[in-house]
């Protein structure tokens, strides 16, 4: 894997873990491996939105990428779940699907405004600004 992306994932995942532990973020049933998935998911969501905003991908590509990111996130979380055993899977079937919604919650509405053609530039650009800022801070 790309070393820079690896570090971005670790920064995001570590930050989410600390935030969750501090009670500042997260949702029900957030186990540590799921938070790892969340961190990497955020890296890709931020990056994808940034690419769209910069005109490197078109709107259809952007939408397909977001869908693909959500699915990869679901696949990884299910693998975590299966890892925890059959009881965890059984309980999950009867529960709401909390984790993906929790890990992507901070950017969902920002992305939504962006796709719809945003009204307030400050809000619209938040996710891509966060990503650029992280990259600049980490890698110059």
């Amino acid at each position: 894997m790309n070393k820079d992306k690896n570090i971005l994932d670790m920064v995001n995942a570590g930050a989410y873990y600390i935030a969750n532990r501090a009670g500042a973020y997260g949702g029900p049933d957030m186990n540590v491996a799921d938070i790892g998935v969340g961190g990497a998911t955020q890296t890709d969501l931020f990056e994808t939105e940034s690419m769209y905003k910069d005109g490197k991908i078109n709107q259809q590509q952007y939408k397909n990428e977001v869908a693909s990111i959500y699915k990869a996130s679901a696949v990884a979380i299910i693998r975590n779940l299966i890892d925890k055993g059959i009881d965890a899977v059984a309980n999950f079937v009867t529960m709401k699907f909390p984790v993906i919604a929790a890990v992507v919650a901070p950017v969902v509405n920002v992305v939504k405004s962006f796709v719809y053609g945003a009204v307030e530039k400050k809000v619209v650009n938040t996710a891509s600004r966060v990503f650029k800022w992280i990259k600049e801070k980490l890698f110059g």
Partner: protein, 119 residues
């Protein structure tokens, strides 16, 4: 919503500062373990190691799913009798999440389903 982004942004900022000060010359996984230990008072080295490993497990699983474009169906084969219910539930949740994101084109949802069917 901006507040939520800023909220996690503060934690990310803290972690970046930690990486800049303590991590640049280290092997990244070692830095992550030590950073977790620094940020959580009273944690043992063993606990920090365990948390680091779990976070990396999640990251690696996500990256593998993205790179190999793993299908839900293939992963759910290991979920036994619950596979069918879980598949339906997860696909529905992905659809709802996409709609909440403002992505409600049927073509996007169809593309995901098509990948699954071609698996």
């Amino acid at each position: 919503m901006t507040t939520e982004v800023n909220g996690i942004g503060n934690f990310i900022k803290e972690f970046i500062e930690d990486y800049e000060q303590m991590g640049k010359d280290k092997e990244p996984e070692l830095w992550l373990k030590e950073a977790i230990a620094r940020k959580i008072p009273g944690i043992t080295e063993e606990e920090a190691e365990k948390i680091k490993n779990e976070l990396l497990k999640g990251i690696n699983r996500y990256r593998e799913a993205r790179e190999k474009k793993t299908t839900l169906s293939s992963v759910l084969k290991n979920a036994g009798q619950y596979a069918k219910d879980l598949y339906k539930k997860v696909m529905k949740e992905i659809e709802e999440l996409l709609k909440r994101t403002g992505i409600d084109d049927q073509s996007v949802i169809d593309k995901i389903k098509e990948e699954e069917e071609n698996e």
